[in-house]
């Protein structure tokens, strides 16, 4: 899957996360900011990376602004942003 347009998912409310994606010129850039970065930054990044790999994303810009989201919320928001930005018509449930 390829990110072909800018897209956004999630909110900046507590326990949520805002994810923005955009196309890039062949590289993958992931930027994570979090209120709990000191304790959970590595974990957040690992979840984002794993989610992108499962979706087959190897290029694009992914900005993650975390407000204390659980892993399940993080996965859902990254997937929603990527699916919106990838203009996907049919879902592969096994990749979610």
């Amino acid at each position: 899957m390829k990110i072909v347009k800018e897209a956004i998912a999630g909110t900046l409310e507590s326990s949520d996360v805002l994810v923005k994606v955009a196309p890039s010129d062949g590289t993958l850039e992931v930027v994570v900011t979090s209120e709990v970065e000191h304790q959970f930054g590595a974990q957040i990044r690992a979840v984002v990376d794993e989610t992108l790999i499962r979706l087959g994303i190897s290029e694009g810009i992914v900005l993650v602004e975390d407000k204390g989201a659980l892993d399940c919320t993080l996965r859902a928001r990254v997937q929603t942003a990527v699916l919106r930005g990838g203009a996907v018509k049919t879902l592969d449930w096994s990749a979610l």
């Binding site: 409310e13 507590s14 989201a69 859902a76």
Partner: protein, 294 residues
Amino acid sequence: MTTSTKLRRSMLFLPGSNAAMLSTAFVFKPDSIMFDLEDAVSLREKDSARLLVFHALKLRNYRDMETVVRINPLSTPFGLLDLEAAVRAGVDVVRLPKTDTAEDVHALEREVERIERECGRDVGSTKLMAAIESASGVINAVAIATASPRLIGIALAGFDYVMDMQTERGDGTELFYARCAVLHAARYAKIDAFDVVFSDVNDDEGFLKEVELIKRLGFNGKSLINPRQIEQLHNAFAPTQEEVDYSRRVVAAAELGERQGLGVVSLNGKMIDAPVIQHARVVLQRAQASGVRR
């Protein structure tokens, strides 16, 4: 079909798009948590709410609370995708809104079975409930309630129903026939019956009055939109100390009779038959779940 012994007094509605509520709802301990993908979610957030609920369900931190997902009607572009997400994530019960006929349940059942086979889930493990929200649904309540062995209950949804009946919510008179029809259909089918939400969360007196009415009618429980209503509802459904004491004596007498091989048991000169024993067990179950009424 057999009468359920699972307690379903409180079914808490959660907007499927609200990450914070999905993360913390289990602390309120309703009997059932219902993730709403229908009316509580705006059209532009249907996709994000579906994935949020999908992953929240997979987390499985709802312990012994039953999980329910209210999907969009299958006639919309969202319904089938909602169903895929709910069944694949392992939801306990799918709630179908706007159920007008038995065929609505049959159509849902066909899709659920297909998804169960595709994702490797045991066929038949996804339970269903149908929400009746129109005059047509009320008229067809018996056919709907008996449409599938997967059905664990039917629910009356008040807002759409009163709109269809060209009236509005009031003191309950406007719902009387529908409540009785839905309840009788559920009892005939030996499944549970759930009453409407009480939307004025600041009117405790009105809420408790309505709870008392639906409890006396025989409903198993009520759909709720505010966690604050859970404890009030559970307390109203809790038995009194006298009811608990009597139920203990009934169950003890029944167990003694069983050990002695007696077909009929009596307590204080009164015959105790199966329905009395079953009711006593439900009373003790409610007492165990939420104590004695305060």
